[in-house]
């Protein structure tokens, strides 16, 4: 073999090595670092009881079914209409106009966490503010929007052994909008109970059920008197881990609506 040919062989065969060896070393470092960051969770998942192991490395399912973490897949949402003065403590003066919106946004988390005691019990065993926000409308009304995340206190049913499983969601109305529902703790409690009942019936029929979001909306008509209580509406979104070869999304929705009809009547 001539020297120049030899040089070409060495260079062209060796160049990939220049990339390959550092890449492998970096890859090892990346793996090590990522393992060390998530190590605690991974160990917990690997060592945990069923149904923990089956959703290992499936972030979406972990969001729905992990009983360790508060996640955005399990929420109780609020959309609340208030007068600005409702945000203020007794005797507190109204701030400068330029600060009104700041006050609304700054007080949104404490407005939301105040609902946590209402859901702790048969519905949730742990509750936290997941997200919060607030807006000030031109007429001086305030809207607080946000969600609480929760750990379910109710049974989820059998999710670990579902074959060909896929999370399917369906919505249902919980409070009859024809009947005027005032936004009171009692009416919110009634909606919670109805959501649990709905989920129980779904679980009996499909094997499992999770309340992915329970949404409360408190509104007040513009013509309402100052002392009039706002109206309350509530909807629920349930998630079922179902065999996708047997169930379809629309068939689940039909089933939920049928159960809801039974419940409402």
């Amino acid at each position: 073999m001539r020297p120049i040919t030899l040089l070409f062989v060495v260079v062209f065969m060796g160049l990939p090595l220049l990339w390959y060896v550092p890449a492998m070393i970096w890859g090892y470092q990346v793996t090590t670092e990522s393992m060390s960051e998530d190590g605690a969770i991974s160990e917990e998942l690997v060592g945990g009881p069923a149904p923990v192991q089956w959703f290992k490395n499936r972030a979406e399912l972990r969001g729905y079914y992990s009983l360790e973490d508060l996640t955005k897949r399990r929420t109780v949402s609020f959309d609340i209409d208030l007068d600005f003065n409702d945000l203020l403590a007794p005797g507190e003066s109204v701030p400068d106009n330029d600060l009104l919106e700041l006050y609304v946004k700054a007080r949104a988390p404490s407005q939301l966490i105040a609902f946590c005691p209402e859901i702790l019990g048969s519905f949730a065993k742990k509750c936290d503010v997941g997200s919060s926000g607030g807006r000030l409308s031109r007429d001086g009304r305030v809207r607080i929007q946000g969600s609480l995340t929760y750990l379910p206190a109710y049974e989820l049913g059998n999710v670990a052994e579902v074959q060909n499983g896929q999370v399917m969601v369906a919505r249902a109305r919980l409070l009859d909008t024809n009947a005027e529902q005032i936004a009171t703790p009692e009416n919110r409690q009634a909606a919670l109970s109805r959501a649990l009942e709905l989920c129980k019936l779904v679980r009996a029929e499909l094997g499992n059920c999770l309340i992915s979001d329970l949404s409360f909306k408190q509104t007040r008509s513009r013509r309402a008197a100052q002392d009039e209580q706002p109206q309350l509406s509530a909807t629920v979104r349930v998630a079922v881990f179902a065999d996708k070869t047997v169930y379809r999304q629309d068939s689940l929705q039909n089933e939920i609506e049928r159960i809801q009809e039974v419940l409402m009547n």
Binding site: M1, V21, I25, D98, A153
Partner: protein, 441 residues
């Protein structure tokens, strides 16, 4: 006898022949080998040499690869080889127009090094002095006693005054010499911060949204109102008549620090800006100010560049040497739009100015630059003007919701306002979870 002799002679010839053949038989292979060695000079085992070279080559390459890996061993996410860092530093230096290394090019002229052409015209880095002809001047050429180490403080005291409620100013008197200083912003930051309550609320809302959005590491967390004031020294040397000074900054809060040369008569000062201030105003000189946002939207391309009754936003006319204008002429659409705004805005500003100042134009004795820390209004003085540091002076500032000195005071004001808005501790923005049994975690 003859027969015997013949026989012996033949026998000797045969013996000689045999001896010669033996010798040829014995020496022929060696001779071939010698010939081969002479012709190729190859090693004893030709295949082994090639393999050895290949192996050595691979070993060398693996060595280089391992060496490279060792260089980058700290973190795979922070790979910036030293050479690349060096090149970035060089590029940065090149972009900012800093002087080349004196070791390579000889001593650089400090005057030239302080001057930089940008997309929006000349900028002067301290101690460079902006002037009408954009000449490369430094503070040492026009002042005495200037100390760059004392350039970040604030005036001793501020006196608040009100802005003009109408977009009118005092018309220059007969004999007044109008000087215009117009720039985008100052580049010598002070410790003074002036800002509105609305600006602080906006920053704090960003901070709250950063926390409550649920996304960790949100860039808005820690936001504070951006109201840091810049100081610009104005060295006034025109002694040809009473000076009527119009100080205009577009996108900043400027403290104009005036230094009057011998024989200068400063008659009147007009400030046009957002929250301008002036220090070193002599007794008897008039002072008035226009806040741009009282009449038009603040600096915004395509928005506040129209001719209208109170178009007080001081746009500058693009010059041929602006890099932005050159790019616009080269077909860059971004700069075409930007330069269009500059031209239209400058025309609109000139229309208002001529109307408000009874025919004077905004181009009278004009120094117009992008950024600077020092300006010369008038000719280069034969005797340097004594320099007075800002921190030894009292300043007049246009009314503002908040004026604080120093980062600690700025942070404290934001914290106090935020806690008032929350109605309690900052921890209430991210309350602790509640769990069954009433225990908080």
């Amino acid at each position: 006898m003859a027969g015997r002799d013949d026989f012996e002679a033949r026998l000797r010839r045969l013996e000689q022949k045999a001896a010669t053949q033996d010798a040829e038989t014995l020496t022929a292979p060696n001779a071939r080998q010698a010939n081969t060695k002479k012709s190729t000079k190859a090693p004893l085992n030709p295949g082994m040499g090639n393999r050895l070279a290949i192996v050595l080559g691979f070993i060398a390459l693996i060595g280089i690869a391992l060496l490279a890996a060792w260089q980058f061993r700290q973190s795979p996410f922070q790979i910036v080889p030293t050479q690349l860092k060096d090149s970035l530093v060089s590029a940065e230096g090149w972009l900012s127009g800093s002087a080349p290394d004196p070791a390579e090019t000889g001593p650089a002229d400090p005057r030239v090094a302080t001057r930089l052409q940008t997309h929006q015209g000349w900028s002067f880095e301290s101690p460079g002095v902006a002037n009408r002809g954009f000449d490369p001047l430094i503070m040492g050429d026009v002042t005495t006693g200037f100390d760059p180490a004392l350039e970040v403080l604030a005036p001793q005291e501020f006196t608040v005054f009100e802005a003009n409620s109408e977009c009118r100013v005092r018309i220059p008197s007969q004999g007044d010499i109008v000087h215009n200083i117009r720039l985008e912003s100052g580049n010598s930051k002070t410790q003074a911060h002036a800002f509105s309550t609305a600006a602080m609320a906006k920053a704090l809302i960003g901070h709250i949204e950063g926390i409550t959005s649920g996304h960790s590491g949100n860039y808005k967390i820690g936001s504070m109102a951006d109201g840091q004031m810049s100081k610009i020294d104005v060295v006034i040397t025109d002694t040809s008549g009473p000076v009527y000074l119009v100080l205009q900054d577009f996108a900043a809060r400027t403290i104009w620090n005036l230094h009057l040369g011998e024989g200068v008569n400063l008659a009147h000062v007009v400030l046009i800006g957002e929250t301008p201030a002036v220090a070193g105003l002599p007794e008897g000189a008039g002072l008035e100010a226009l806040r741009i946002s009282d009449f038009v939207e603040r600096f915004e391309f395509g928005s506040n560049d129209k001719i209208e009754p109170c178009m007080v936003a001081p746009w500058r006319v693009p010059r041929e040497d602006w890099l932005g204008l050159q790019k616009a002429k080269g077909g860059n659409q971004l700069f075409e739009n930007q330069m269009y705004s500059y031209n239209a805005g400058a025309r609109a500003f000139a229309a208002w100015y001529a109307e408000a100042l009874a025919g004077w134009t905004p181009f009278e004795n004009l120094v117009a630059v992008n950024q600077t820390a020092h300006v010369l209004a008038g000719p280069v003085p034969s005797t340097p003007v004594p320099y007075t540091p800002l921190q030894t002076r009292k300043a007049h500032i246009l009314n503002t919701d908040h004026l604080v000195i120093g980062e600690d005071a700025l942070r404290s004001l934001h914290d106090t306002t935020l806690e008032a808005a929350i109605g309690g501790s900052v921890a209430m923005l991210d309350p602790a979870p509640l769990q069954l049994g009433g225990q908080e975690q």
